[in-house]
Amino acid sequence: MSGDYTTEIIGDKGYIRVGGDLDSEQSGEALRKAFNDLFDKGRRTVVLDLTGVQIINSYGIGKVLMCYKRLKAENGVLMVKPLQGFVKETFELLMLDKLLPVDQ
């Protein structure tokens, strides 16, 4: 289920609140669009709020990394809100917690 994706700009940061699991082409596409919305508005620090996500698979992780690489190419930063549960465990397993700083 792709759920709702909401974006918000606060200062120089863009926030994406992911409202459902990141485990399908549909959810990946929704994330891409939300990210592009912020990126096209010039935001180079983007924070992903994954607190509403229970399941993330390699498809969703791939999309997260795509966002990371696009920002990095322009000296930007992709951050995450503090992770929890299975998503936290998955990020640690794949060492993504060392790649994406936490926005407290």
Partner: protein, 311 residues
């Protein structure tokens, strides 16, 4: 031949039904409380979704009765959190007229019934009684699974069919219900299965290449997604079969997936390099983290994932 010792039984529920209520409206809490007291059930009540989830972490309840709209957490998020902790939890929603929205989505998350406010006490009692009865029947059916010694299921799909739908692993639900498999292990196995199935569909039958995920057109759409769409519409790819075989022998759970592609050699697990930024190749790490052993056929067209269960 030595007999396998029985796994420990699932926790025995007390005979008095236990109801957990979450509603931020005091009037509703009082009404439900009075109804439950008349029926002789045990009730615990909270006024927030977060407190309800925390309570479920501490102890089980037969039925959860929850207001759909409470401050701080929308109904669907609440249901997902309930299901993550208690996959088979029976839930009754209370909603104001006209706010039920996507009823199908709620049913998929385990909601067994919806009551509209203002709640009628007779209707509430009948609904909770009916739900309690079905909960008991289900538990009796699941508990027998502790004595299961062998089960084999085989499914065969076309690539087009399986590419667009989610295949549930109902055996995992039965194993969790019988206390044989932990909830967290179930989640990991489900993910591992999805990863392996996606590999069989995308890299096996559709012959898609991972580097295509980093090639974009002018609209920002990656080549992998574009070619996938094209090949799903091409019968020479779309009709290739995927066969899923799930077997359980009391000590071991095996999930095998076979495709009709040209076969591919799996890459090494991506776990050692945190700076590996490529957006593909991590599915195998998820698979290996979920199971005890992974086997591949010589042709590279079949993967078997094995999880050993407590004996």
């Amino acid at each position: 031949m030595t007999s396998k010792p029985l796994p420990p039984p699932p926790p025995v529920r007390p005979s008095t039904p236990r109801v957990l209520l979450a509603d931020d409206d005091q009037g509703t809490r009082e009404l439900v409380g009075a109804c439950v007291a008349r029926a002789g059930w045990h009730l615990e009540a909270t006024s927030a979704g977060r407190a309800l989830v925390d309570k479920l972490h501490q102890e089980p309840f037969d039925v959860v009765v929850a207001d759909l709209l409470m401050p701080g957490m929308d109904g669907l998020s609440l249901l997902k959190q309930i299901r993550a902790k208690r996959p088979g939890q029976a839930v009754i929603l209370i909603s104001k007229s006209g706010t039920i929205g996507d009823f199908v989505a709620f049913m998929k998350e385990g909601v067994l019934d919806v009551l509209q406010k203002p709640v009628d006490s007779d209707t509430l009692q009948r609904t909770v009684t009916r739900v309690l009865s079905s909960v008991r029947d289900r538990e009796r059916a699941l508990s027998i699974y502790r004595f299961a010694t062998k089960e084999i299921s085989e499914f065969s799909f076309s690539t087009a069919d399986i590419a667009e739908c989610r295949m549930p692993l109902s055996l995992l639900d039965r194993l969790v219900g019988a206390g044989i498999l932990e909830v967290q292990s179930r989640l990991k196995l489900e993910l591992a299965f999805q990863e392996a199935l996606a590999n069989a569909v995308e890299h096996g039958n559709l012959e898609l290449k991972s580097p295509w995920k980093e090639e974009f057109d002018q609209e920002g759409i990656d080549r992998f997604s574009l070619v996938k769409r094209e090949r799903l519409a091409d019968n020479s790819y779309a009709r290739r079969r995927i066969v899923v075989t799930i077997s359980f022998d009391g000590l071991m759970l095996s999930i095998a997936i076979r495709d009709e592609g040209k076969g591919f050699v799996p890459h090494k697990r991506v776990v050692s390099d945190p700076n590996a930024e490529r957006p593909h190749g991590r599915g195998l790490a998820i698979i290996y983290a979920a199971v005890d052993e992974v086997r591949y056929s010589e042709s590279g067209t079949e993967i078997e994932m094995i999880k050993r269960l407590p004996g």
